[in-house]
């Protein structure tokens, strides 16, 4: 957009400074957390509990955490919730959105109303808890998964996407003798790969980050996902003892805490590039404005 007036040099410098500071506010903590988790006790003491660039790298904290105890179990729980939840979410959201995207489906109108109204009316904490209790799901992983499976918002986005698929395309397949199921599996799904990956990744992030539902419904600390472990040992500063990690000499608490933090962040960092790649403006703008 060359027609935008070019700013004067001092303004440009000021902009550069502002953006650099904003980026640094996010990057520096990340670097510090990773570095501290890899640092030796002497280094951590010398740097006042937070190391930016370690002189010497040690994996002692990770070794201690992964030899046994709470962290491997919590990671396994979180992975189970994330994988099962995301699979269920993608399947039911896609099917529901597709059913709603074909304008002449029977019962299409009332179901759409229910989905849209769900955006507006969210159940409160107390009734939600009572429902889970009524269904006998307290202390079950399903209590964390099932209420999050269908996000009305994602149904609405996906439905809008499906509606943009030209009707002629589907009609011609039908004339060629394809059934509804075949049309869905062979034409609609392959055309929607990008939007489905974005929605799947969003669901996955949601399940991995699930904190409050786990706090509310999982009373048994053996069932805790990684976010609750993080709260106990990092936010609430409970000391990690030999009971919580594998045996052996205990690495410094700071390194252990930072290592748990890193373990909880790494999955997000791993999928972030995929979110970025598929996160075309189209998906986003479609979400904001129909």
């Amino acid at each position: 957009m060359s027609a935008k007036a070019a700013p004067a040099p001092p303004i440009r410098a000021l902009k550069g400074v502002v953006l650099t500071v904003c980026c640094a506010l996010i990057v520096v903590p990340f670097v510090g957390i990773i570095s501290t988790s890899l640092s030796t006790r002497e280094q951590i003491v010398r740097s006042g509990g937070f190391v930016i660039i370690p002189d010497e790298i040690t994996f002692a904290a990770y070794r201690a955490l992964f030899t046994g105890g709470v962290v491997p179990r919590a990671v396994a729980v979180s992975m189970f919730i994330t994988i099962v939840g995301t699979a269920l979410s993608l399947a039911s959201t896609t099917l529901l959105a597709y059913g709603l995207s074909r304008p002449h489906t029977r019962a299409h109108r009332p179901v759409l109303m229910l989905v849209v109204a769900a955006l507006l009316f969210t159940p409160g904490i107390i009734p939600a808890y009572l429902t889970i209790d009524l269904l006998g799901l307290i202390n079950s992983y399903w209590a964390v998964i099932l209420p999050a499976v269908v996000s009305a918002f994602n149904v609405v986005i996906l439905r809008a996407f499906f509606m943009e698929i030209p009707a002629e395309l589907l009609e011609s397949a039908r004339i060629d003798g394809a059934s509804d199921g075949q049309i869905f599996a062979r034409i609609v799904l392959p055309l929607s790969k990008a939007v489905l990956s974005v929605i799947g990744l969003f669901y996955a992030v949601g399940y991995w980050n699930a904190f409050f539902s786990a706090l509310l419904y999982l009373n048994d600390s053996a069932k805790w996902p990684i976010q609750l472990v993080l709260r106990t040992y990092v936010v609430n500063q409970q000391q990690l003892g030999v009971d919580q990690v594998g045996t052996g000499s205990l690495p410094p608490q700071e390194a252990l805490q930072m290592a748990i933090l890193v373990i909880s962040i790494v999955p997000i960092l791993l999928i972030y590039p995929f979110i970025q790649r598929h996160f075309t403006k189209g998906v986003l703008v479609g979400a904001v404005k129909g």
């Binding site: 996010i26 099917l95 529901l96 509606m163 509804d180 936010v235 930072m258 404005k289």
Partner: protein
């Protein structure tokens, strides 16, 4: 939303399966689509609409051993804390309103400024790098964000250690009730500003470049371009996001606050959602908590619908367009 959505439905209980044959041919034809909708619809009814019905607890004196059905009706008794202004409820309401104003005043507007700033950068690659960094924290959980803040700003964190080593005194932020609201506003900014920014950036990228050219020909400088071209181009997105924000205006950082409440105490940190949780789940005062939650939900819906109507009055599309039928 390719087709204008109609107004909000008030129906609570729709039969998930197609009703018996008024149009049997149609049902047969749509068999696949109807089965396809069933699992999602079932989950929505079970975990969204069933709890909505559960709100009747707000009108009962809930006794766990009697169950929801057996507990006696008490009319509006549970709503007395709201009407008579129970001190704890008023604290929660006051904190909620203050935090809400901070969030709409700062957390909503700063990303717009950030988007304008980034949009004025010439280099596309630089733009992409900055965006990528800035919206990463959106995907981190509150537990992670608060852990990071505690580690950095806490009493034994790097900043205070540095200050102490240089005899500069220390900054007391974490666990300090006096600055709690500022702290949580800062946390929301750190986590969400980048994300909100890209929504505005997407809208900026759709402004017709010819408008900038025309205004430049007419002699408009940078600031006048922002005022006459850029901001009007952002208007409908700003309105839309503001309406959505109003809908949960009373929802101010529930997880975020629960995680930090121990450290700063109730007086500074109790908001409506934490009141419902602490009073209901923790203290087992179910009915009263459900009543507060219900009123909060109704106010939220009223705010969305009201804001939407206002948007229509100003000629904006808002959340949904009015159906011309």
């Amino acid at each position: 939303m390719g087709q204008p959505l109609s107004g909000p439905a008030t129906a609570v209980d729709e039969p998930p399966a197609p009703p018996p044959p008024p149009q049997p041919a149609k049902v047969r034809r749509d068999r696949f689509l109807l089965w396809a909708m069933l699992p999602g619809l079932g989950l929505l009814l079970t975990f969204h609409y069933l709890p909505l019905l559960g709100n009747v607890i707000a009108f009962k004196d809930f006794q766990p051993y009697l169950g929801l059905g057996g507990s006696p009706w008490v009319g509006l008794e549970n709503f007395r804390v709201i009407v008579e202004g129970d001190p704890l409820f008023l604290t929660a309401l006051g904190n909620t309103l203050v935090i809400m104003l901070l969030q709409i005043g700062i957390v909503f507007t700063l990303p717009i400024a950030l988007a304008l700033l980034l949009d004025s950068m010439i280099s596309e690659r630089l733009k992409r790098v900055v965006q990528t960094i800035l919206y990463l924290p959106h995907f981190l959980s509150w537990v992670i964000v608060i852990s990071i803040f505690n580690e950095l700003l806490g009493g034994s964190g790097p900043i205070n250690t540095f200050l102490r080593q240089h005899d500069l005194g220390t900054i007391d932020i974490i666990g300090n009730a006096a600055v709690f609201k500022e702290l949580i506003t800062g946390q929301v900014l750190w986590k969400e500003a980048g994300w909100a920014m890209i929504l505005f950036l997407a809208a900026l990228s759709r402004i017709d470049p010819e408008l900038y050219e025309a205004s430049a020909v007419d002699g408009a400088g940078r600031l006048r371009q922002i005022w006459h071209v850029t901001l009007p181009g952002l208007r409908s997105v700003i309105v839309l996001l503001l309406i959505l924000r109003l809908g949960d205006a009373l929802t101010v950082g529930f997880e975020q606050i629960i995680l930090q409440q121990q450290a700063v105490g109730i007086a500074a940190s109790e908001v409506l959602d934490t009141y419902v949780y602490n009073n209901g789940i923790v203290q087992s005062d179910w009915g009263v908590s459900a009543a507060v939650g219900l009123v909060k939900g109704i106010v939220g819906v009223a705010l969305v619908l009201g804001a939407n109507r206002l948007a229509h009055a100003f000629g904006e599309a808002g959340l949904y367009r009015r159906e011309a039928r």
